[in-house]
Every structure is written in C-alpha cells, then in structure tokens.
C-alpha cells in the first residue's frame, strides 16, 4: 500500500528541509521539552539529593528511596496511599467500565429516540471541574443538608443512610464512586463511537442469523470494541494514579479521616509542600514523584506486554 507520507522531501535541498522542520516542529518540541520532559528528568535527578536546613543540596544516591520504602515514618503512609490508590482504581474498573459499556450499548440501539439528548446530558458531569463535582457531592451527602438522607427515606431505605464521606470505612469508596459518576462519560463516549463504527451489515447479518439484540451485543459488538475498552482502562489507570483534585477539594491535603482517603497524589502534595504536620521537602517530594512515575510506567508496560498484544483489532 502506498504510504501517505509525501516524498517531497527527497528533492528538497537539505537546508530548506531543515528550515521547514525547524519552523514547524521547533515551537512544539521546544515548549514540550522544556516544560514537560526536562522537569520530569530534573525531578528524578533531584530525588537523589537531600537538602539540609541551610538549603544546601548534597547527593545521596538512592537514600531517599530507602527512606521512603524502609523508614516506617515514610513507608507506612506511602503503602497506605498506594493501597488506597489501588482500591480507587479497582472501583473505577469494576463500576465505571461496566456502566460505561451498558450506557454505550443502550445509546447505540438502532432507532433510539432522544439519543442526542441522552448523550449530552450523560456526558455533562465529565465537562465539569473535579473540584466542583467533589464539593457538590460533599454537600449532597452531608447529613447537615439531608438531601441524600431524605432521598433514601423517600424510597424506604432511610436506615441505610450514613455520613459516608466522614467514615473511615466508606470514605474512599464513596470518593471513588463520585469520581466514577463524573468520568463515566469518557468510556461511554469512546465505546459508543466504537460501536457506531461497526458496519450495519454485520449487525444485519447477525439478525438474519436469528440473534436477538442482547446476543448481538454480547457476541458481536462487545468483542469488536474490546480494543477501545482496553484503551479506556489504560487511560483510567494513568488518571487514577495521578488523581489529586477530588480528594484535595473534598478532604483537604490530609486526606482524612485518618488518611483513609490518602492516595499517591495527595501524599506527593503533602510531601512536597508540607502541611500542618510537617515541612515541605522538595527532594523527598521528587522521590515520591519518581516512584509514581515508575508505578505508571510499570502499569503501561504490563498493559503493552500482556493486554495490547493479545487484543486483535479488526478491520471492517
């Protein structure tokens, strides 16, 4: 197959090509390198230093990481944050993806009326700031206002109500669900788009073969959108292990109660900037960021080697 890349560069004088590349790529590469890649590298470099109270920095090799993972003062909150982050991610995977798939499936039903309306409304929360969403839910779930309690009472489940966001046992899961509520629009839309890409003839053929809508969805559509689902999962993974705004705006930097909602993002923020309990520590903060970087990298590698390779993309 002929490629889409133009061969025009073959006849171009070298200097002209260099000029063009500099003009087109220069600004993007410069800004990106300076403000994205360089900071990442510099942060990693900084994680191998320590600073004394006078502000002087000295190289300490991997000592910061030893402290972070070995010194109970550091390692306990770190493992706690990592564990919480895993729960946060697990809730997303178990709730956000199935709900997103189900909604996309319903939206893509042939002949559905009001499709545009549903799409618009259901995607709305995704457009809002996490801060606003978190705070709004904070109010709604607050026993002070009593909206949630009232709503439960109205359906006869009043006894189930509890100040979920305040309880150590339920705060994390509640926050995860709020995040799911907000971001379910992304898997819904991407899967919906993938479902629309499936040619109608394929579905018609299945209908002629006598399959009902339900079977068509599970046996034909779902396998065909699997690549999209796995892509959504990776996006969710990266976003979750980098999350911060929601916990910070609902629970503050201390991620209470008693660090029950502390995830890596908030742990990083506390380490870097400090808070009521401790002073900010840029070098330890860099170490935390570096560890987060490797966790995300590990996740991406696992995905590339174990998931991506097994998934087959189908051309229509």
């Amino acid at each position: 197959m002929p490629e889409s890349v133009s061969n025009i560069t073959a006849q171009m004088p070298r200097a002209k090509l260099a000029g063009l590349l500099l003009f087109f790529l220069g600004p993007a590469v410069a800004i990106y390198t300076l403000f994205s890649i360089y900071p990442l590298v510099a942060t990693m470099a900084l994680s191998t230093y320590t600073s004394d109270p006078s502000g002087a920095r000295s190289f300490v090799g991997l000592a910061n990481f030893k402290t972070l993972l070995g010194d109970a003062l550091w390692s306990k909150p770190f493992w706690n944050a990592l564990g919480n982050n895993l729960i946060f991610f697990a809730v997303h995977m178990c709730v956000q993806n199935p709900v997103g798939i189900a909604l996309a499936g319903l939206l893509s039903l042939p002949g559905l009326r009001l499709r545009g309306f549903y799409r618009t409304v259901m995607f709305l929360p995704t457009m809002l700031s996490v801060v606003i969403v978190g705070f709004s839910w904070n109010l709604i779930l607050s026993p002070l206002w009593g909206v949630a309690a009232g709503a439960l009472k109205a359906v006869g489940l009043g006894s189930l109500f509890a100040p979920w966001l305040g309880l150590e046992s339920s705060a994390l899961v509640t926050l995860s669900l709020i995040s799911v509520w907000q971001f379910v629009g992304i898997p819904m839309m991407l899967i919906y788009a993938a479902l629309l890409n499936i040619p109608d003839e394929l579905i018609d053929a299945a209908r002629v073969d006598g399959l009902g809508q339900f079977r068509i969805f599970f046996h034909i559509k779902l396998p065909l959108v699997l690549p999209t689902i796995s892509l959504v999962s990776v996006l969710t993974f990266v976003a979750n292990f980098n999350a911060f705004d929601l916990i910070y705006s609902v629970k503050g930097a201390l991620a209470g109660p008693n660090f029950a909602t502390d995830i890596l993002g908030t742990f990083f923020y506390r380490t870097f900037f400090g808070n009521q309990l401790q002073l900010g520590n840029p070098t330890m903060g860099s170490a935390v960021a570096t560890v987060m970087f490797f966790i995300i990298l590990l996740g991406l590698c696992l995905y590339l080697f174990f998931v991506q390779r097994r998934i087959r993309r189908y051309a229509f």
Binding site: F24, P39, L103, F123, S136
Partner: protein, 277 residues
C-alpha cells in the same frame, strides 16, 4: 411495533432517563438551591425557588468577598491562550511529522508521545523551581507554558490522524500550483482541520479549564487564581455559609454548562469522530 418491542423500548428509556437524572440531578440541585434563601435550602431542598424563597444573597456575598471576576478572566486568558497555542503548535508539528520524511522522525514521534501517558504533574517540583528562577512564578504565563506543554502531545496525536485523512492529492495539487510549503499548511491544510478543534478541545482544553493542581502550585495571589482554584479556596473559607457556597459552585458550573450545551453537538461529534482509537 409489537407489544414486546414497545415494552423493551420503554424499558430502555426508563434506564436512560434514570441515569440522566442521576447525571444532572446533583448539578441541578446545587444550581437550584443557590437561588434560595437559607431556610428554604434546608427546609425543602428539592423544591425549585419560587417568589417566596428566591434570593440572590449568596451571589452578592461571592461578589463581595471574592475576586470571582478576576478568576474568570484569568481562567479565560489561560484557557484561550493555551488553546490557541496548543492548536497552532500542535497542528504545525503534526503536519511536519505526517508529511515530511526525515531521519529521526519516528524517534521524535515517540519522544512526543511520552507526554500522552506520563502526567506532567510528576515534574512539578522541577517546574516550580524553574518558574521561580525565571521569575515566572505566580504569573499566568507560567500556567500557560505548562498547559501548552501538557496539551501538545495529545493534540499532535489527534491532529496527525486528521491530517492523514486529508487527501494526499490536495497537497500534491498545491505543490504543482507552486504554493510554498508554509502556505500549503496555513492556507490548504489548516482550514480543513476545523472539525478537529472539538476533539482537541475535549481532550486538552477542558482539562486546562478545570485544573486545580498547577494553579495551586504555581499561583499564590488572588490576582492570578483561576476559577477552579479561587472557588476551591472560597469554599474552604466559607464552608458554613451555604448560600455563598452554593452560589460559588453555581458560578463555576453555569458558564461551563452553557458553553457545553451550545457546543455539545460539535464536541460530541469530535469525540465520536473516531480520531481517537
């Protein structure tokens, strides 16, 4: 339609309506109650404001005790400038990467794609140091630079897909016509990229408007806060004043919702255009 089909279609609509309510209910609740007096907020939270309960006291307080208009203009400046630069530089880079064959182009594309997956937040410590030493901390410029760096990889990726869909003959025709390469990009290719703007917006611009992290780290004075940060800090201070809190939340929600509703068709078309697979 048979009865069975009708029942099934009804069932589908019931589920979709229920979920739609779940999606907009909380937002509606907050906005609705922001226009009510304090005792009505608590007395009958589910009732819309009426003549007896209507009140703008919350909004008055927000205007009086916060710099909400400054926050708005900061957010607007940061988002619009970032968007313009992300689109311009992103499209230029995407064009060079898809159109010109040169040594190292694959490596460069890989280098640029790191930023899609690795969040730039992890470099915050160094970013703050850099901005401080450049005298840029607590300026909107710092935010814009970071957001452009953050948005570029994804926008290059999306725009490359769009550029590849522009027929190759068109660029070749322009070359035969004697159009210089830079003009081919700006006058032939760029105008055809308009449908891509919506997709880029969803994936890179909306996160910029909504971001809390970088304003929190890079700005420290009221004059440089964005809406998200300003409202967040306001909420923290006035947490017990429900009128103000609801009003502040509504003021952060409403502009976004209005713009979203106006542009939702394009945005959703951009999302589902298949450029992101």
């Amino acid at each position: 339609m048979t009865t069975e089909q009708r029942a099934r279609s009804l069932g589908v609509h019931v589920v979709l309506i229920a979920y739609s309510l779940l999606a907009v209910g909380p937002i509606l609740l907050v906005v609705m109650n922001s226009f009510k007096m304090r005792n009505a907020i608590f007395g009958s939270p589910l009732a819309p404001p009426d003549a007896a309960t209507f009140s703008l006291i919350g909004y008055e307080k927000v205007f009086r005790s916060s710099h909400i208009l400054t926050y708005y203009s900061n957010s607007l400046i940061v988002t619009l400038v970032s968007m313009a630069l992300v689109l311009l530089f992103g499209a230029m880079a995407a064009w060079a990467l898809t159109e010109y064959r040169f040594r190292g182009s694959t490596a460069l594309a890989l280098f640029l794609s790191i930023g899609i997956m690795v969040p730039i937040r992890l470099g915050s410590v160094a970013i703050l140091n850099m901005m401080r030493s450049a005298g840029l901390n607590d300026t909107l410029t710092a935010l814009i630079l970071v957001y452009v760096a953050q948005g570029l990889p994804m926008s290059i990726f999306i725009l490359s897909e769009f550029i590849q869909q522009i027929p190759k003959d068109l660029r070749d025709a322009a070359r035969c016509d004697g159009v210089p390469e830079t003009r081919i990009f700006f006058e032939v290719v760029a105008p055809l990229l308009r449908p891509a703007i919506a997709t880029v917006a969803v994936f890179t611009i909306v996160p910029i408007w909504n971001d809390l992290w970088f304003p929190l780290i890079l700005t420290s004075s009221d004059s440089t806060h964005t809406v998200t940060l300003g409202v967040q800090q306001f909420l923290g201070q006035y947490i017990t004043d429900w009128n103000s809190v609801l009003a502040a939340l509504s003021m952060a929600i409403l502009p976004v919702v209005i713009i979203y509703v106006i542009l939702s068709r394009q945005l959703i078309a951009g999302l589902t255009s298949g450029a992101v697979k």
